[in-house]
């Protein structure tokens, strides 16, 4: 693999790993593992852990994909691998 393609792939993996860490935090960590301690905090009438499990994680997922689309578009152009 050429150096530039290699760098592109590494940058891609870095981006995806960062986004997947957030993905893990809002669902597994806030929504399941830490749900009970978080439930003592209230958000708009919801216990916070319960809110993450039934609302907050979903909003974050949508945002994550659009951030990915935007960042990948930048990477594609930077390394000149974009489609016409």
């Amino acid at each position: 693999m050429s150096t530039s393609a290699n760098q592109y792939w590494r940058a891609n993996l870095r981006l995806v790993s960062t986004l997947l860490v957030i993905w893990f935090i809002v669902s597994y960590l806030f929504g399941i593992i830490l749900v009970e301690p978080l439930n003592s905090i209230s958000l708009g009438g919801y216990p916070l852990g319960f809110w993450f499990a039934q609302q907050g994680s979903i909003y974050t997922f949508v945002a994550l994909i659009f951030i990915y689309v935007w960042k990948m578009g930048q990477l594609d152009r930077k390394y000149d691998v974009h489609e016409d």
């Binding site: 399941i32 319960f50 994909i65 990915y68 594609d76 691998v81 489609e83």
Partner: protein, 577 residues
């Protein structure tokens, strides 16, 4: 106008619309039959994917599970949305770059092996058929209520409609029909939710209403927690299952989402690699509208149900509703056999309690969404709309799945392996024959479904998670993965998960053939069958990596192929190939 007539009119009108679109855009070539000529706009494709994706399990069953399980059902919400993040970032753009018709075709080419392709076809069929069984349960429930007949008659009518519908169109017809179905189903889901949220909390947004306060000035969720505890149940917002089980089920649903062939194939239909990424985002946005509304539908419908059967004090003798005073929706659902009352203490009142020997009301969870507008006394047209929406959800997914099954059989098995010289006409005929077979099998299982629609569907996700997802992901991210590793990995993942499920649910779901009772004491490390897909996926990864390290690396041209799919530049044209 009475409800029955109105329902016929609304359901009839929406069906006429779908069929009209299907005829208008009838598939003419094999390429169009499977992937719609690859020219679908990302937003349109996102909407069609959302309809394809949101099935009877999402529309009819999920809010019912949320109602009766409270917090624990959050796994379905997170699992079925979080999977799109994986799909968008790990699979969709690369599979689009590769540019083939079907998922087994990718696996066959990437692992340079016909055996790999055949194994992928088997994995695909097992997961998809299980998924269709879940749809059949949902369709059966919707039709039985709509026709006011038994569940069985409802199921058979539904099978007939699905057959006519899926066999007539193809992917091209389906894409546009599915956009129409998305509009119908999202309207049907959100309208009653808005009404009920306004009724209970005065907030028109169900997403905020669930956190709102009710007429008494108390918070809705806190009141629900309190009432449930008084009836002997656990709190609505509390965790009841184990952290391990909930995490594994969420993971199974997520990676299953990313591994389900009928969803993946949708990303072959957009013009560019960048569009495949965008399309996943739009799909999830459209899905999120329903998924963030569902918790409100679940919580509020359950609150209304309890208030209906328990209008007075729980401790008071006359607190429960008299059976002879039961509302019309109650007696209508009794006809389907999905709701029943047994007067155990012979006082003529409906006691709904946690204790099995005191409880007199049995409610099939799958009826909650359909019964919800009736329980809340919403106008008849809203109720008719919900029936039409439920049918749209079930039909769109069933059609997408049948398409995946039939293309796997006709394109990958018949044309790809057994009879490469088959004519286009012959291939289309094989595809339609495969669909008919799949509907028959799924309908037969639907008579004795191994669980609620959403639970059966969860099993399907476990199967997809354990077999297809790892093979696809390693195909892109692990250049060293070879044919032997991938094949043995898929076989190990699928078999372990399938055996675990059959062990507790009966061989081929036949009641009475379970090897052990389906209870927490018998489960391996307390893992329920629905959650096992994540473990199966781990087994798949482990077997594949170990075997691959011990055997010869893939040939050079395959390594180049992997390098090539990692960059968007040079993706194939948007036309059929």
């Amino acid at each position: 106008m009475d409800l029955q007539t109105l329902t016929y009119i609304v359901v009839g009108a929406t069906f006429a619309l779908y069929i009209g679109i299907a005829i208008w855009s009838r598939a003419s070539s094999t390429g169009e039959f499977y992937v719609a000529g690859k020219g679908v706009h990302p937003v349109a494709n996102g909407m069609a994917t959302a309809a394809d994706w949101m099935s009877a399990a999402s529309f009819i069953s999920m809010a019912g599970l949320i109602a009766f399980k409270g917090y624990d059902a959050s796994v379905y919400l997170m699992g079925w949305t979080g999977g799109y993040v994986l799909l968008a970032m790990l699979l969709a753009p690369y599979l689009r770059k590769f540019g083939k018709f079907t998922v087994p075709e990718f696996i066959g080419d990437r692992y340079y092996s016909q055996t790999a392709r055949i194994v992928a076809v088997i994995c695909l069929i097992v997961a998809s058929i299980t998924y269709v069984i879940g749809q059949m349960k949902g369709i059966g429930v919707a039709f039985s209520r709509f026709l006011e007949t038994s569940y069985e008659v409802g199921l058979f009518s539904g099978m007939g409609i699905v057959f006519i519908y899926a066999v007539m169109g193809g992917m091209k017809g389906i894409t546009y029909t599915q956009i129409a179905q998305y509009v119908v189903l999202i309207f049907a889901y959100t309208v009653p939710a808005i009404f009920i949220s306004l009724q209970l909390t005065g907030n028109p947004l169900p997403q905020l209403g669930l956190g709102g306060t009710i007429a008494s000035g108390e918070s809705l969720l806190a009141t629900l927690d309190k009432v449930l505890v008084d009836l002997g149940f656990n709190e609505y917002t509390a965790m009841k299952d184990t952290t391990l089980n909930l995490s594994l089920l969420t993971l199974s649903l997520m990676i299953g989402t990313a591994g389900l062939p009928h969803v993946i194939v949708r990303f072959f239909t957009v013009p560019k690699v960048a569009d495949a990424r965008k399309s996943a985002g739009w799909a999830l946005l459209f899905i999120a509208i329903l998924y963030t509304t569902a918790p409100a539908v679940g919580g509020m419908s359950f609150f209304n149900l309890i208030n209906t059967v328990q209008p007075g004090e729980i401790a008071a003798e006359d607190g429960a509703l008299k059976y002879e005073d039961r509302p019309t929706w109650f007696s209508n659902w009794e006809k389907t056999g999905l709701l029943s009352f047994e007067d155990k203490n012979a006082d003529g009142r409906i006691q709904y309690r946690a204790a099995k020997d005191e409880n007199e009301l049995t409610v099939d969870r799958d009826i909650m969404v359909l019964a919800n507008p009736e329980i809340a006394k919403l106008p008849n047209w809203v109720i008719a709309l919900v029936v039409a929406g439920g049918l749209a959800a079930a039909l769109s997914t069933a059609a997408g799945l049948l398409m995946a099954i039939s293309s796997a059989i006709s394109h990958d098995l018949v044309k790809g392996v057994f009879n490469p010289g088959i004519s286009e006409k012959g291939e289309l005929f094989a595809a339609r024959l495969a669909m008919a077979g799949a509907i028959g099998i799924a309908g037969w299982f639907g008579l004795n479904p191994p669980g609620f629609a959403a639970q059966v569907v969860a099993l399907a996700f476990g199967l997809a998670a354990s077999s297809i997802f790892p093979a696809l992901m390693m195909g892109i991210f692990y250049k060293r993965m070879n044919n032997t590793g991938a094949i043995l990995g898929m076989i190990a993942g699928l078999t372990s998960t399938l055996v675990y499920i059959f062990w507790f649910k009966g061989w081929f779901f036949v009641p009475g053939t379970e090897m052990a009772a389906n209870t927490a004491e018998n489960w391996f490390m307390g893992i329920q069958p629905e959650s096992f897909g994540a473990v199966g996926a781990l087994i798949n990864f482990a077997v594949a990596i170990v075997v691959s390290k011990l055997t010869a690396p893939p040939p050079e041209h395959i390594q180049h192929l992997v390098e090539d799919i990692r960059v968007p530049k040079g993706a194939g044209q948007a036309s059929a190939h």
